[in-house]
């Protein structure tokens, strides 16, 4: 084991130091002297993130030196029940998969830290923001580094907490109609995630029940062992319950899928992610685009053995497998969210639905067994979506400054319903914000899947996988069509956004006065734009069966962590090497062509519309699009049906059950009054008469006896002498008795 692995705990130590600094003393620095305080607070957090990044790079080198063999860094025992063989450690699994995730988290995280220094400038809660950001890094690294499901779950909940805190970062800001928009968004995220997390807990419990462990390696080895020994039934640990192995596996994998739909915003739990844009834009960029929302994909990729086995079992029995469900959920989400993105005016919400859609791509890839493709898309998406969000942040920043200037010029012109995030007020920003424009363009092209940007390669790999397996599973054709349509949607709504924001005429005074953001914000944009351009190099496909030195790097890197199987005819699993993916020219050409056409169409449709902020959107003419997807059907379903009933039920629970029955009747009447009655009985009857009677009675008896006995103590010597004499005579007679009575 390479000594560098011992550095692993540091990736957790650095962020937590940052949390402590900013959480405990950061605010004093900032309050004391705004300028230097912000510098301290922001750069301290950034340096902590960068330090973690450096450590991860060292771990990367260590893995190279270790020939890519995974190492477990044991920290300490956590839950140990010797009798039951339960031992859950705090341990970090350093393998190629977790290090890949760590690189993304700390790399993109560091860039976003730098960006935040500029973006959050002037915010009264500057240090609190950075404390949350570092806390997020801490939990995210726990999530990806844990070597068992329970530690993963700790990180899972921790990032959920940070997400909640950052969405509600400006919780006191109200919407125009007076609702607590931001606080409600935070709560929505928390509640939607509860559903997924409950499934996660059940999944972990079931995993332990079936396999007797929650550590990844043990679980997977045990699963393969059970599968290969053809055992139909498994006995749950510590019970006598028998369960069909296929059922158990199906349940575990579906529960993990539900967990992933919560965290990664898939149908039908995706509703929280668009609202999560209420948080500061860099936070949205880091948490709700690049890293946290991908932890669902990480969970599925990490559990790849279970999903593969599920697929193999279902091929055997001819039923639908949980992997297929995963793929279907992902593909449907990809298309569904893509369509909704057409109808959004908020620049961040478009990106948010785009994120949901792209996460759908990744989930679909994982469901199809293309784990490497999922991870590839995860990594490239992290770069260009972070870039897009931060670009959007830059645009919003510019719009706010523009609006500020305008408001200063025209007094009494304050409230005209202006929203700095609404694309209808933008336009023509290309000239005013050149750096933002060019980097945004790179991000948009990458997202749309245009050659040669990163998104092209990763998205194409997913589509190629769906295409390549069509013959084997009929399902894959459906998946391919869904994903291809989603890709078309992606190109279209990104074209729409580019056209509306950067081209044309400004539709508001604010857009006319917008100007470029400070270098500290544009520098990270440029950096990410570079990555967004070249990230495809991480996993270039083989072109025409030629393999270049650079190709399939990620594939070879991850094959040490991800196993794929092939079911042999005899029902035995064969560990097969990853099939190297070649570029399928037809598919690539098709997707590129569709994307270009779709984007061009968008530019054509929005060439001069909407002219003013009040004009309708051109796509409103398409029947069904705005009336169905524009109304957010699932959100509406929740708000119209579930939430009122839930509220009514809560009110009943609160007022009737809890207050009237439980408090007024049960506690007040039954418990309290009974208690009072009993206390009264004890005090006034049992104690006063019973216990006191016994004690006083004992005293009286003793006194009465003493009064009787003290008579004998006359104090006269003769009395005592008589007693002695009596004793003498009695003793004498006792001794002489045999002689006396003879």
């Amino acid at each position: 084991m390479n000594e560098l692995f011992n550095l692993a705990p540091l990736i957790l130590v650095f962020p937590i130091i940052g949390v402590l600094f900013n959480g405990l003393v950061g605010r004093r620095f900032v309050d004391h002297d705004r300028k230097t305080g912000e510098r301290w607070s922001g750069w301290f957090a950034t340096i902590m993130a960068l330090s973690a990044f450096v450590v991860v790079v060292l771990l990367n080198l260590a893995l190279h030196a270790n020939h890519f063999h995974a190492e477990t860094v044991m920290l300490w025992d956590w839950i140990v029940i010797p009798g039951q063989g339960l031992s859950i450690p705090w341990a970090m699994q350093i393998d190629t998969l977790s290090v890949a995730m760590m690189l993304v988290v700390t790399g993109v995280g560091s860039i976003i830290h730098i960006y935040s220094i500029g973006y959050m400038h002037g915010d009264p809660d500057y240090s609190r923001y950075f404390a949350y950001l570092n806390l997020f890094l801490f939990f995210m690294l726990i999530l990806v580094a844990g070597n068992n499901y329970l530690v993963l779950f700790v990180g899972w909940e921790g990032v959920g907490l940070c997400s909640y805190l950052l969405i509600g970062f400006w919780h006191e800001r109200l919407a125009k109609d007076g609702t607590m928009k931001n606080a409600n968004a935070a709560r929505k995220a928390m509640i939607a995630n509860r559903v997924g997390d409950a499934a996660m807990i059940l999944g972990i419990i079931l995993t332990f029940w079936v396999f007797g462990s929650v550590e990844f390696n043990h679980v997977f080895e045990e699963a393969i062992h059970i599968f290969e020994s053809h055992e139909e039934m498994v006995t749950l640990v510590s019970t006598n319950i028998e369960m069909a192995f296929s059922t158990a596996l199906f349940a575990i994998t579906v529960l993990f899928l539900i967990a992933a739909t919560g965290k990664s915003a898939q149908l039908v739990l995706h509703v929280w992610l668009p609202d999560a844009m209420a948080g500061p834009t860099p936070a949205s960029s880091l948490i709700h685009a690049a890293t946290m929302v991908t932890s669902g994909i990480y969970l599925i990729v990490r559990s790849n053995v279970l999903y593969e086995l599920s697929r193999a079992l279902s091929v055997h029995s001819g039923t639908i497998s949980s992997s297929d469900i995963v793929a279907l959920v992902g593909a449907s989400t990809a298309l569904y969210a893509g369509l909704i993105a057409f109808t959004q005016y908020d620049i961040k919400k478009v990106l948010a639905y785009s994120t949901v859609s792209q996460l759908g791509f990744m989930i679909a890839a994982a469901g199809m067994g293309a784990y490497v493709a999922a991870m590839f898309h995860l990594i490239t998406h992290a770069f260009f979506k972070a870039l897009l969000f931060m670009g959007a942040g830059s645009v919003i920043h510019g719009m706010e400054h523009g609006h500020h200037e305008v408001a200063h010029g025209h007094h009494g012109h304050d409230d005209d319903g202006f929203d700095p995030q609404d694309m209808r007020y933008m336009g023509g920003l290309r000239k005013l914000m050149p750096v933002t424009f060019w980097t945004y363009l790179v991000g948009a092209l990458a997202l749309a899947g245009i050659f040669p940007f990163a998104g092209f390669w990763s998205k194409d790999e997913i589509l190629a996988h769906a295409n390549a397996n069509q013959g084997e599973y009929g399902l894959f054709l459906v998946l391919f069509i869904l994903l291809a349509l989603a890709a078309v949607c992606t190109a279209f709504y990104m074209g729409r956004q580019l056209r509306m924001v950067f081209w044309g005429q400004p539709r508001h005074e604010a857009a006319r006065h917008a100007h470029e953001s400070s270098p500290i914000m544009t520098f990270p944009l440029v950096l990410l734009a570079v990555f967004g351009t070249v990230a495809g190099l991480f996993n270039l496909p083989k072109v025409l069966t030629l393999e270049f030195g650079w190709s399939l790097t990620l594939e070879h890197w991850l094959e040490h962590s991800i196993q794929t199987f092939e079911l042999m005819e005899e029902g035995i699993l064969a560990h097969v090497p990853h099939t190297p993916t070649s570029l399928i020219v037809e598919v690539a050409a098709l997707s590129l062509g569709l994307a270009l056409v779709s984007m061009g169409l968008a530019f054509y449709v929005y060439r001069d519309k909407p002219k003013t902020a009040a004009d309708p959107d051109p796509t409103q003419k398409i029947p069904g699009l705005w009336s169905v997807f524009g109304r957010l059907p699932i959100d509406s379903f929740y708000m119209k049906l579930l939430v009122p009933w839930f509220n009514r039920f809560s009110a009943w629970l609160g007022f009737k059950f809890e207050w009237s029955f439980w408090h007024d009747f049960f506690h007040e009447r039954v418990i309290r009054d009974t208690f009072v009655w009993f206390a009264d009985l004890s005090a006034n009857v049992l104690d006063a008469q019973g216990v006191d009677g016994i004690v006083n009675g004992l005293g009286s008896v003793t006194r009465w006896l003493a009064d009787g006995i003290r008579v004998s103590q006359t104090g006269y010597a003769r009395t005592y002498a008589l007693s002695v004499f009596l004793g003498t005579v009695v003793l004498l007679i006792y001794f002489l008795w045999p002689y006396v009575m003879r």
Binding site: R718, T719, L722, F725, L726, T728, V729, L732, I733, L736, Y739, V740, R742
Partner: protein, 175 residues
């Protein structure tokens, strides 16, 4: 163990002296009767071949101790008790019980003696020479040397105790 006649005379004298001692109103008389009793018992000791003890009896008891008694009686002027001398009911009960117990004691001893095996018959009395002080002294200082020393301590304690009584009294009056 002595001629019956000698025994009888001496016993009568002793008993009478004892009775007179107990019943005398005057304490001085009582003391004198007691001296007689002690002297009689000293004669018994001589009869019983214990001349040394007899001499000790005369010198210590009849001499020193009884002189001390007489001295105190006369010092305090307590020849006769002042007061009514009328007995209360409790006292009469007390006296009755005491008398009953005395009778029971005498009766028990008498019955036991009469019923004893070989009662009245002369068990063989060993011939025993008249004890010389030398013999007694040897036993005393060989076998009983430790108790002897203890009695010395006891006497010392008695002396100190008595001295303390006296001293406290003197200091009290001096103040």
């Amino acid at each position: 163990m002595g001629d019956p006649l000698v025994f009888g005379i001496l016993a009568i004298v002793a008993i009478v002296a004892a009775l007179m001692m107990v019943t005398s109103r005057n304490a001085v008389h009582s003391a004198l009767w007691l001296v007689l009793n002690f002297a009689t018992i000293a004669v018994f000791y001589v009869v019983l071949n214990a001349p040394f003890i007899a001499m000790v009896q005369i010198t210590v008891y009849a001499g020193a101790i009884m002189v001390l008694f007489l001295f105190v009686i006369m010092l305090l002027g307590a020849e006769q008790l002042r007061g009514t001398g009328v007995s209360s009911r409790g006292e009469r009960f007390h006296q009755a019980v005491a008398a009953l117990l005395g009778v029971m004691l005498i009766t028990a001893v008498t019955l036991a003696l009469m019923n004893r095996e070989g009662a009245g018959g002369g068990t063989a009395v060993p011939t025993m020479p008249i004890t010389s002080p030398q013999e007694l002294g040897l036993i005393l200082f060989e076998t009983y040397v430790f108790p002897f020393e203890v009695t010395g301590v006891l006497l010392l304690a008695a002396i100190i105790g008595v001295a303390i009584f006296t001293l406290r009294k003197k200091r009290g009056t001096a103040v």
